[in-house]
Symmetry: C2
Amino acid sequence: MILEPLYVTGLVEGEGCFCVSFSLRERLKMKIETRPSFFVSLNQADLPLLKKLHAFFNCGAIRYSNTDRTYKYEVRSVSELMRIIIPHFKKYSLHGKKLNDFKLFEEICKTIHANLHMNAKHLVEIIEKAYLMNPSGKRKYEKRDLLKVIDEIMV
Amino acid sequence: MILEPLYVTGLVEGEGCFCVSFSLRERLKMKIETRPSFFVSLNQADLPLLKKLHAFFNCGAIRYSNTDRTYKYEVRSVSELMRIIIPHFKKYSLHGKKLNDFKLFEEICKTIHANLHMNAKHLVEIIEKAYLMNPSGKRKYEKRDLLKVIDEIMV
């Protein structure tokens, strides 16, 4: 049985995440890789539900996460995020605090899609917005460390 | 803005709980009180969403839970569970492992609503079903301890 669009939005309100993470990459012009991702984590008992979610969006992939021993349905491709994921949540809106994360996520994905994250000013904006999202989440880098990397490039 | 029924089902798939708990009560004929409850727990940031959920179902109450420092929208009244909550999830079905919990919950509420939980055979069935639900949850009593109480009454 196929999932209903509004059910999917409700499930994501509780179990989904719009996340933008960063990695330091010497070879990149801005030295920082920006990686947006949309995912839903569930326990093994709900793997069939994740497969239905995968079929619903028809993009992304399911993987096992050793870190928290859950299964994750995840979409990382910026073009799929722009073409499939973001339009879904524009049409079938979130109602809780995750709506704020989604709005920031949409702005960030648009900036990346327009290739503006190669520009220092826009990359700083992306970092500022990303660090407003999921405040309870763990971060590999402090915000100030990323901003410092950009500062050093601009000198 | 009012919540959509299918969104509510999706949210409950992730964040909701159908639970049946038990307490020992000397004054009761069967010595065991059976308490079914439907609840959704969210952090303080999502208190406005819980209020929308309360308005949606138009029954139950919101309370703060010291145990896990969340807010809970909860419905405990068997007649409201039978009249409002259960019909919602019959019409707008769950899709994940919570669907099994819901089916057991419905059976248990029907039995209680028909006052059959005052009968030892039915109470044993209720206990057996309740301990199949939310297997990861904590329990005040071991199943065998509750069954022993009924055994002792029947002697």
